[in-house]
């Protein structure tokens, strides 16, 4: 990722976080976890191209999120299970470091 693309990616993420913060004041409670998880997916996209050593980890994390994130609207249990799995995946990776 070039420095311009990285800068653009992070700039967009700042916009996403700012407008999410404001929007969540008036939105359903479960949108909070959804925005954070979607934010992780967006960050993983940047890190996949930036952090060669952990590329596979970020790619898998993003893929897992994008596959099931919309269950927040139709199947809350599946969405919560997804978050539990993601935390487990992250912790496993953390132990390896």
């Amino acid at each position: 990722m070039t420095s311009d693309t990285l800068s653009r990616g992070l700039f967009d993420l700042v916009g996403y976080m700012l407008t999410s913060a404001r929007g969540l004041v008036d939105e359903p409670p479960l949108y909070g976890p959804f925005r954070l998880i979607d934010g992780v997916s967006r960050l993983c996209e940047i890190l996949t191209q930036e952090d060669e050593e952990n590329k596979a980890f970020y790619k898998d994390l993003k893929s897992k999120i994008d596959e099931r994130k919309y269950t927040v609207m139709s199947d809350t249990d599946t969405f919560i299970n997804l978050m539990d799995e993601l935390v487990y995946d992250f912790t496993t990776k953390l132990k390896e470091r």
Partner: protein, 178 residues
């Protein structure tokens, strides 16, 4: 396409193909929107159709609920001056309802043309207003993403326990003479 198929087949699309949308089809969508029902014939809506990639990306940045890669965006806005001038303070609420009905009309029409859409309310209205250079009395109510679908989303379950007959909570209804 028959109306029944459109009503039951339309889905919220969040993954679009790169197939280019023709401007004439976007114009047809906008034409359909102005034929939605409107309280007191106020027609409080304003539609800003955005097709420039850079502007779509800018709006995306301030719209957390906008997911996917649409070819176009329709900002369905209410003209607050017109709404209040014609209907008094209650005009603001009526304008929101009218804009919602216009949005649904647009989305059904788009589905009939083979396009996908998704209505979005999770965006920052002030930021979107600024990005489309609209004055203060033009309030963005909904964004509709538009493109050719790259997916066929599964229909989510619908609640079936929301129908009543004659009276609230009356499941079957009774004849007047019973």
């Amino acid at each position: 396409m028959n109306l029944e198929k459109a009503i039951f087949g339309r889905r919220s699309v969040r993954n679009y193909s790169s197939k280019i949308l023709e401007k004439k089809h976007l114009k047809e969508l906008l034409d359909a929107g102005i034929w939605a029902p409107t309280a007191g014939n106020i027609q409080p809506w304003v539609f800003v159709c955005v097709t420039h990639t850079k502007r779509i990306q800018q709006i995306h940045t301030v719209s957390p609920g906008m997911l996917g890669n649409p070819q176009a965006l329709i900002c369905v806005c209410s003209d607050q001056n017109r709404a209040v001038e014609k209907a008094g303070p209650g005009g603001r609420t009526l304008a929101i309802m009218d804009c919602a009905m216009a949005a649904q009309t647009i989305m059904l029409f788009a589905y009939g043309l083979g396009m996908g859409t998704c209505a979005i309310r999770s965006f920052n209205p002030s930021a979107v207003r600024e990005l489309i250079s609209a004055p203060a009395h033009i309030h963005p109510e909904l964004l509709i993403t538009v493109g050719y679908p790259a997916e066929s989303p599964k229909p989510p379950a619908r609640k079936k326990d929301v129908f009543f007959w004659e009276l609230y909570n009356e499941k079957e209804g009774k004849k007047d003479d019973e």
